[in-house]
Amino acid sequence: MANILLANELDDAIELLIAKRDSSSRSVDLDLGELLGIAAQLRLLPDPEFKATLKRQLLGPTPTPVALPRDVIQPPRQARSGRRDANRDEILPTLFGAGDGTYPVRRGNFAISAAIHVMLIAVVVIGGVWMARQPKIRPHTTSVLLTDIGAYPLPVASEKGGGGGGGGDRDKLSESKGSLPRFAREQITPPAVVVRNEQPKLPEEPTIVGPPELTVPPSSQTGNPISAILGPPSNGTGAGGGIGNGVGGGIGSGDSPGFGPGHGGGTGGGFYRVGGGVSAPRAIYEPDPEYSEEARRAKYQGTVLLWVVVGADGKPRDIHVQRTLGLGLDEKAIAAVEQWRFEPSMKDGHPVAVQVNIEVTFRLY
């Protein structure tokens, strides 16, 4: 009777054990406890068919699949797949010798691995050497401010040159021939052939703007020295005072209080040039130009010469291409020089606008 009770109690406990439910809270006697301990270890009891099947796989010449009861036997992985056999040479040896002797070692694999490594190292080394010998073409640009333009013969402009001055009092006759008045840094009274105000309240000597050290032959008659009309006296057809057909208080066809065609002060047209008391402007910010994509693709190199006026404020203006290069490099050079800033040229302690040439070199190397 006690045996039956023990068998029932044991089976209930095993049922819980197999179902993996906690049976530890139950109070059991020592006898039952020992048996349950054994039962707990039997939960992972290997399948006897598995042991036999594995043995056949290991030792049999051709492992034959064993018909196993589906609900009893879980055959080993090798028996299920049938692909793996005793030859496990595909297993690589472990690193650092931890599995020394555990895994198969194929000398051929080591040779292949070594050969691949040698090839890879060779590719890296040869590639590096080749790259060093075939440097990447990089654009490089340099810009030089040319203050001495003597070596650069500029082409004759199709238009009138700058500088000079002009004037007139809207007479119907062109200005008459005569000599220039005195040059002065500033003009207070414009010159006139026909004086309209005989008695000015503040009489001042008529002058034109230009280098004061420039002297002209004295003459009794003021006028335009290059005029072909000797008389009758006339201030010219221009406006704004002065003599000539231009605008402003100078003499000639320009629009300034100087002499000659064009605009600005001085004579002969144009701006001050470096030299003769005019200091060279000094670039204080000169970003390099970029290379145009077309020129880069075409590997096009060369030099662009720019004609630039550096104003008294240190900013470049009136930029013209004096020697073109093309393929977008002219525009790149202009765009760069437009951003330049200068310490302006000085003349007699005053900043003045000067004309300079800037050479922009585009080079690939």
Partner: protein, 183 residues
């Protein structure tokens, strides 16, 4: 004491001869397999906690052992140490590869048994083979197939009560044999 050492040496020499024989003829690997199967399985089962995984890994261990047996060098250690080394490597690989490491939770690591525990389990598995056939079948169906008593009774054509008694006697038998093996 000396007798124990002599017995140990004799056992080692015998195992060495078995290994050398198996290296010459793989058919002789059977003895090594039979002698070590339960230990290897117990070692792995204690760590993975699943019969299917333990069987798979045990199969892997013996496949690798057989494949590498020609390169095995006798260094005075028992053959089971080499087999358990392979098993440890495979377990390490398995855990590293496993994305879901549910089998290696902390509880399982704590349950990893000592050498004695593994020996005891291996012996228990071997003792099951020595049980009377009807008791052995009940144990296999109950713990391996995880059938209920009623299902086992139906399979074997016996009553539920008879199966309960067979189960009880089988476990008592195993306990007695374990005790007797411990002296």
């Amino acid at each position: 004491m000396k007798a124990l050492e002599n017995e140990k040496l004799t056992k080692q020499n015998h195992e060495r001869l078995q290994i050398e024989a198996a290296q010459r003829d793989t058919a002789r690997f059977a003895e090594l397999y039979e002698n070590n199967f339960e230990r290897v399985y117990a070692y792995i089962a204690r760590r993975v906690g699943s019969r299917e995984a333990a069987q798979d890994l045990t199969a892997d261990v013996f496949h690798q052992a057989l494949a590498n047996l020609p390169r095995f060098e006798w260094r005075g250690l028992p053959f089971i140490a080499w087999l358990l080394g392979i098993a440890a490597n495979l377990l390490s690989d398995r855990w590293q590869r496993s994305v879901r490491r549910q089998e290696v939770v902390a509880d399982d690591l704590e349950r990893v048994g000592t050498e004695d525990d593994i020996e005891q389990r291996a012996m228990l598995y071997q003792l099951v083979e020595t049980l009377p056939e009807d008791q052995r079948r009940v144990i296999i169906l109950r713990f391996v197939a995880q059938k209920s008593l009623r299902e086992i009774a139906a399979d074997l054509g016996r009553s539920d009560g008879a199966i309960k008694q067979l189960q009880l006697r089988a476990l008592q038998n195993l306990r007695e044999r374990i005790r007797s093996s411990h002296g």
